[in-house]
């Protein structure tokens, strides 16, 4: 397992770490500080969104508490030209790529089934709720990048790669296996970023796999590595390395980030029914933010920085709350307008029928 920071925040120097440390040494002071701010903001708005759900403002919220390092590290490792295909818990990845988090909230509130334009949001594609489906979309997209000749030229500043996010539960889906097969067959410039958070709602990873999941990669003919997903530096370095290898024409690869879902699967879930407090506590002790804070303090970061980050996170979540409460109801046109991209007689007829019907009710039409 690749680990660059021990649980107490000490930088590792063993042989495995040595291979990845150059990626960290290339980071600026500000970039290292940014990782921390990303994680703190994410944890804060994640709590705010959970509260909003509890107050009836959201239909659902899937919290990412505990997985901040895997997500922030991998997202910061992607280059601007890369395309990222999320599952539905990658809130910080979206934020880092330029998604307005209120757009994620709109999805969870029932205002939209999508939320943002990937082309305008750092090529961060829409959430996919059917587990594993996005792995094939990512692979097809990567195949298209190859057809376009926009990868493998040897210039990491312009060569594109694709990264797909999925979880331990999704590895059992046929679509993930098929995506691994297609990616290998077509030598797709793609990184499969597997967040193993140990639980697929109530089912432990031991039910999904009898071997460590990263070992599956070799069966598909690609390299697979395991990283400490609660170590933001390891997540960053491993993703940076593998994405750059993929964009260099070396083919797809799989990263298994070992992490833990500290919270519930979603706000509809009750983890006390299926897992032991002691297990959760053991992972809380490996908290990604506390670990990274220790590292930064060791580098001389003072209280002012940490206080400012906490304050920034508070402001971010207050703004999110404020704008969530201001969200309206979409126009009924949204039901019909984009089902097809070209004219369709049923859409025209049914949209007109609804307008006439609502007009007949006495001006309730929106």
């Amino acid at each position: 397992m690749v680990q660059l920071l021990s649980v107490d925040g000490t930088l590792q120097t063993d042989d495995t770490a040595a291979e990845y440390l150059p990626y960290i040494e290339a980071l600026s002071h500000d970039e290292l500080r940014q990782f921390y701010r990303d994680m703190v903001i994410t944890r804060r708005f994640d709590l705010e969104a959970t509260n909003l759900q509890r107050q009836g403002q959201l239909a659902l919220w899937p919290p990412s508490h505990g997985q901040e390092a895997a997500q922030v590290g991998s997202a910061r490792a992607a280059r601007a030209q890369d395309h990222l295909f999320p599952s539905y818990r990658e809130h910080s990845v979206g934020m880092i790529r330029g998604v307005d988090v209120v757009d994620v909230v709109r999805l969870m509130r029932g205002v939209t089934n999508g939320g943002w334009d990937p082309a305008e949001r750092g090529n961060f594609h829409l959430y996919t709720l059917v587990l594993g489906s996005q792995a094939l979309h990512a692979t097809g997209y990567a195949m298209g990048i190859t057809l376009d000749g926009e990868t493998g030229t040897g210039d990491p500043e312009t060569d594109r790669a694709v990264m797909v996010y999925f979880g331990d539960g999704a590895t059992s889906q046929g679509d993930v296996s098929e995506a691994l097969v297609f990616a290998a067959s077509f030598n797709a410039p793609e990184v499969f970023f597997l967040q193993n958070n140990q639980w697929a709602i109530s089912v432990p990873v031991s039910v999904q796999s009898r071997i460590p999941l990263y070992q599956r990669a070799s069966g598909f003919g690609m390299p697979g590595i395991q990283v400490d997903g609660n170590d933001v530096l390891a997540s960053y370095a491993a993703t940076r390395k593998n994405l750059d290898e993929a964009r260099a024409g070396k083919g797809p690869r799989l990263i298994e980030a070992l992490t833990y879902r500290i919270g519930a699967h979603t706000t509809s879930d009750d983890p006390t029914k299926y897992r032991r407090d002691a297990e959760t506590a053991s992972w809380v002790a490996k908290d990604p933010i506390a670990r990274y804070a220790s590292y930064l303090r060791g580098r001389g970061e003072g209280d002012d920085f940490f206080t400012a980050a906490a304050s920034e996170a508070d402001d971010f979540s207050a703004d999110l709350r404020h704008r969530t409460l201001e969200l309206g109801v979409p126009s009924t046109d949204l039901i019909f307008d984009h089902v097809y991209s070209e004219q369709h007689p049923l859409m025209d007829a049914q949209k007109q029928w609804l307008a006439d019907y609502e007009a007949g009710l006495g001006g309730t039409a929106r």
């Binding site: 089934n113 996919t128 489906s133 094939l136 979309h137 990512a138 995506a179 297609f182």
Partner: protein, 325 residues
């Protein structure tokens, strides 16, 4: 310029034209490269357009559809071949939950110009999963378009129209008609994709069907003519959306409608047509709209297919019932 071609060769010519006209068009599927597809519809196309444009995929239908979605997001226009009707179901989730909803989910910011070609239907004496008619599943799914040509000329033109469509289209190919010849007019312009068409005029009963069933309806109409009954036949061509105007016009004239399909009868496309015509032409009808379908069973072993599939006699039995009102 008109040429007599079998339907499969007309499709091949249409695919060749689409590949030549637009470099974004890709053909992908199982065995479509050097083999030319198990029905040879893509024969010669890989040699002509190269392995980047026409390629064999791993043997996985969900993988074919799912990667086609990604390619469409990238700006390509993938044309997927599903080898047989009964093999489409491993791709069903990607078609109905992803492909069909992708433009809607993106609120119109992207299009999904993906074509899924499906050889379908019986009459070929094949083993299980090779003779089915699953088109109603897809006609029921918002976001998809569903069409089926019955003639070589329509095959040539409609395959080009669906490839040009920015919406996903299920293109059902009547495989029992692949090797039947008919004129293909390479100069004529295409009919609107989603239009149904009167293919034989008559005055007493209207018959509607699609794909291979159109040929059965024409046989029935000939036999009825010999018995003194004038029958009009409409080739549906498009199952989603359905073009009702020619059917309504015909029913206003004949007052009697029989809708036929190879699919099991319950909740099939014929049921939708029967309901809609009853709603929209109730006072023109002299008899209830009647349906002729296969039975509500799995497709039986092939030695029983001639009993299972509606033939001209089953159509005529329904014509007689309609006339008896």
């Amino acid at each position: 310029m008109t040429e007599e071609l079998p339907l499969a060769k007309a499709l091949n010519a249409g695919l060749r034209k689409a590949l030549a006209d637009d470099p974004k068009v890709l053909l992908m599927g199982e065995d479509i490269g050097p083999l030319g597809g198990v029905f040879r519809v893509t024969e010669g196309l890989q040699a002509e357009f190269g392995e980047r444009r026409v390629f064999d995929t791993p043997l996985a239908e969900s993988g074919i559809i799912g990667t086609a979605i990604g390619l469409a997001m990238r700006g390509y226009r993938p044309v997927c071949e599903i080898q047989f009707d009964g093999f489409i179901f491993p791709g069903f989730n990607q078609i109905t939950s992803q492909l069909a909803k992708m433009t809607s989910r993106h609120e119109g910011r992207i299009t999904m110009p993906v074509v899924i070609r499906v050889p379908y239907g019986g009459h070929i004496g094949a083993v299980e999963h090779h003779q089915e008619s699953p088109e109603a599943y897809f006609a029921h799914t918002p976001g998809l378009r569903v069409v089926s040509p019955s003639t070589p000329n329509d095959a040539y033109w409609m395959i080009q129209e669906v490839i040009a469509s920015n919406d996903p289209v299920l293109f059902f190919e009547p495989k029992s008609r692949y090797w039947h010849r008919g004129p293909v007019d390479f100069r004529a312009s295409a009919s609107p994709l989603h239009s149904s068409r009167v293919v034989r005029t008559g005055t007493e009963v209207t018959l509607v069907g699609h794909g291979a069933m159109v040929n059965v309806l024409m046989q029935a109409a000939e036999l009825a003519e010999q018995e003194g009954t004038s029958v009009e036949v409409i080739d549906l061509r498009s199952l989603s959306p359905i073009d009702y105007e020619p059917i309504l016009t015909s029913v206003q004239k004949t007052g009697r409608l029989v809708v036929a399909s190879e699919a099991p009868g319950s909740v099939n496309v014929s049921a939708e047509i029967a309901a809609t015509i009853t709603e929209r032409a109730f006072y023109s009808l002299e008899a209830p709209v009647l349906r002729v379908s296969s039975f509500d069973t799995p497709f039986p072993p092939a030695k029983l297919e001639t009993v299972y599939l509606p033939d001209a006699d089953r159509i005529l039995e329904a014509v007689d019932r309609a006339l008896a009102y």
